[in-house]
């Protein structure tokens, strides 16, 4: 029996014959992307058991949601998946709008879509940079952060913040675009596909990269669905499920884009899917920028009461975040605060598949697998 990535069979000349060892991986290991601890059971170099221990970054976000009015909860959502704040904001305000029955004006819909897709690009850039550096490819890190800086600059010009954006409100947006923003954004989106070519030139056909990723951590479509995995991980397993397509929210019904999928469900395919997604995101942003001028000067906020009171009812609203389906389940009780606000965190659900992915692989592959699940511990632990 040889391991799927073609590494020598660890059972043939293993160090510890027939004996299992326990290895505690993390929580302070740099490749865990935060504070994730894994209790590994290993036989030589081979993983035979993996038990994730999480909660080191638990801040009680769901309890805090219950304390604050609907408007003041938007900043809490920034701090869950802190490298994709705009999509968290979008999921939360979408759920509140569904609960209180607000309709968002078109200009706000376009700008929100632009912000969400830029956020997807920047989140995927952080993923690619850290994933590549975990496996040992150093150069992509610098390239990715070079482009990510341009995206963060766009966010900064729009709302003043670079990471914790707080850039959406239930009913619309806090600000219109500043002068010249659309042109800067268009220039970025026109340059960006060439930059993706650069990353792909470094990695896609790179022998070392393929050796480390092809066949590593295969997730079958059945197992992916069974485990509740969503987002690029599910699509890399061959299931083309994308909430932007199946239930178009915001402006996704008005733009054209493809849903990239792959068939093998291994680490390499997850890489391919995310790279293709970044290309689709630039297309979506460019189409929204074309739609914007027709709404110039239009409202960016729906008519809404000064104090939003949630009716006695409950809604679930999920959107396609960079990591998978991020959704909010909000219960209203007639007061300005949500009675209960639960997050459906994509990282949490996707991390659940890690023991399945890791079984039978080498300890060194675990680093590639954590990278390819694209988790943010701030969201796993909330």
């Amino acid at each position: 029996m040889s391991t799927p990535n073609g590494a020598p069979d660890p059972s043939s000349d293993r160090l510890f014959t027939g004996e299992e060892m326990e290895l505690s991986f993390g929580p302070q290991h740099p490749a865990t992307h935060g504070v994730l601890r894994l209790n590994l059971k290993i036989e030589g170099e081979r993983i035979v058991g993996c038990y994730p221990i999480i909660g080191y970054l638990h801040r009680g976000t769901e309890k805090l949601f219950e304390l604050h009015p609907f408007f003041q909860n938007v900043p809490h959502t920034d701090r869950m998946d802190y490298i994709a704040a705009a999509t968290n904001n979008l999921a939360y305000v979408g759920a509140v709008e569904k609960l209180v029955g607000l309709t968002v004006p078109p200009r706000a819909r376009y700008i929100r879509t632009i912000l969400a897709e830029l956020q997807r690009i920047s989140s995927h850039l952080v993923w690619l940079a850290t994933h590549a550096i975990d496996i040992g490819a150093m150069t992509p890190f610098f390239y990715c952060f070079r482009e990510r800086e341009r995206v963060l600059d766009l966010f900064e010009q729009y709302c003043g913040a670079r990471l914790t954006l707080n850039c959406m409100r239930p009913g619309g947006l806090p600000f219109d675009l500043p002068a010249g923003w659309a042109d800067t954004c268009r220039r970025f989106c026109e340059d960006y596909p060439a930059k993706i070519d650069e990353y792909e030139g470094l990695l896609t056909e790179n022998r070392i990269w393929k050796r480390r990723t092809v066949g590593v951590g295969v997730l079958s479509p059945e197992a992916a669905l069974d485990l509740g995995v969503t987002g690029p991980m599910l699509r890399a397993s061959g299931i083309g499920f994308d909430l932007r397509k199946v239930r178009p929210y915001e402006a996704y019904g008005e733009v054209e884009f493809a849903v990239p999928t792959a068939q093998n469900g291994d680490t390499y395919d997850r890489y391919i899917v995310r790279m293709a997604e970044m290309r689709e995101s630039t297309k979506i942003v460019l189409q929204c920028l074309d739609l914007l001028p027709a709404t110039e000067g239009g409202p960016i906020m729906a008519k809404r009461p000064r104090v939003l009171k949630g009716p006695k009812g409950e809604v679930y609203h999920g959107i396609e975040g960079p990591k998978g389906e991020i959704g909010f389940y909000i219960v209203g009780d007639g007061t300005p605060n949500p009675y209960r606000c639960h997050v459906r965190p994509p990282s949490f659900m996707n991390l659940q598949s890690l023991p399945d992915l890791a079984n039978g692989h080498l300890v060194a592959d675990l680093v590639a697998l954590i990278g390819s699940t694209d988790i943010v511990l701030g969201e796993v632990d909330r």
Binding site: I54, G55, H58, G60, E62, K63, L64, L67, P69, F71, Q72, K98, V100, G101, L102, T103, P105, R169, G171, G172, P174, L225, D226, L227, G228, V229, I239, F241, L243, V246, R247, P299, I300, M301, A302, K303, R304, P305, R306, V307, P311, K312, G313, E314, V315, Y316, G318, E325, G327, Y329, V331, P336, N337, Y339, R340, H342, R344, F348, M349, Q352
Partner: protein, 230 residues
């Protein structure tokens, strides 16, 4: 409007102004409605009589109120016969004035291309003493969310392979998302940084600062104009 010409009222009054777009009108607050006529509800009631207590919709979300013992059966039926192959989430909610006080809420989704995309919600009630049948036998993905519900509310799941705390540590005293749990935390008995502080000095984990959350007063809107800024 189909009756176009007659929109001009009698006596030559001018036609009413064109209807305002939805975002300039008052919000349309959704309401609970019975959804017994939904085909999915009828099919489920036929397959599992007595398991469904009520079927309602709110803002387009279909909610099944399920008998506690039958929760896993209903989920299995939805998965095998109706294509709800993805488990979206399992979470809890606390209603301390109600008997039994806890809700367990499950969201399931059916996926294209086999089925249309749809999310349904299963709800069931329980209390601290009564466990809920686990969904891990139907969806393995229910494992961690159910552990989180146990961690946050103390609701147990019968048949769960690993009913332990997930976000807090084993031995934590309390379940923080219960309504009576104080937001500033509890005294877990551990003085932190004991090498820097004397026994009665310094912060003690969980005692908080004495700060209490203000009563939910009407917040000052971040917009200057009522009804939205231009």
């Amino acid at each position: 409007m189909s009756d176009g010409p007659s929109a001009v009222g009698e006596g030559g009054t001018p036609a009413p102004p064109a209807e305002k777009p939805a975002w300039e009108r008052d919000p349309v607050v959704p309401e609970w409605r019975d959804a017994d006529d939904d085909p999915l509800a009828a099919a489920l009631r036929e397959a599992l009589p007595e398991a469904i207590r009520s079927v309602k919709t709110f803002a387009g979300d279909l909610t099944f109120d399920v008998e506690r013992e039958r929760l896993a059966d209903v989920a299995r039926e939805l998965k095998t016969a109706h294509g709800f192959s993805l488990i979206v989430d399992v979470c809890g909610a606390d209603y301390p004035n109600r008997e039994p006080r806890f809700d367990v809420v499950v969201h399931l989704a059916s996926l294209p291309p086999d089925r249309a995309y749809r999310v349904v919600r299963l709800k069931t009630q329980t209390d601290e003493a009564t466990p809920v049948p686990t969904l891990t036998g139907v969806y393995r993905g229910a494992n961690w969310p159910e552990r989180e519900v146990f961690d946050m509310y103390g609701v147990r799941f019968e048949g769960h392979p690993d009913m332990t705390r997930i976000l807090l540590w084993e031995g934590f005293n309390g379940h923080p998302l219960r309504k009576e749990f104080p937001v500033e935390g509890i005294d877990t008995g551990a003085a932190i940084y004991s090498e820097h502080y004397g026994e009665t000095m310094g912060p003690v984990a969980g005692t908080g600062t004495g700060w209490k959350p203000p009563k939910p007063a009407p917040p000052v809107s971040d917009e200057t104009e009522e009804g939205g800024a231009k």
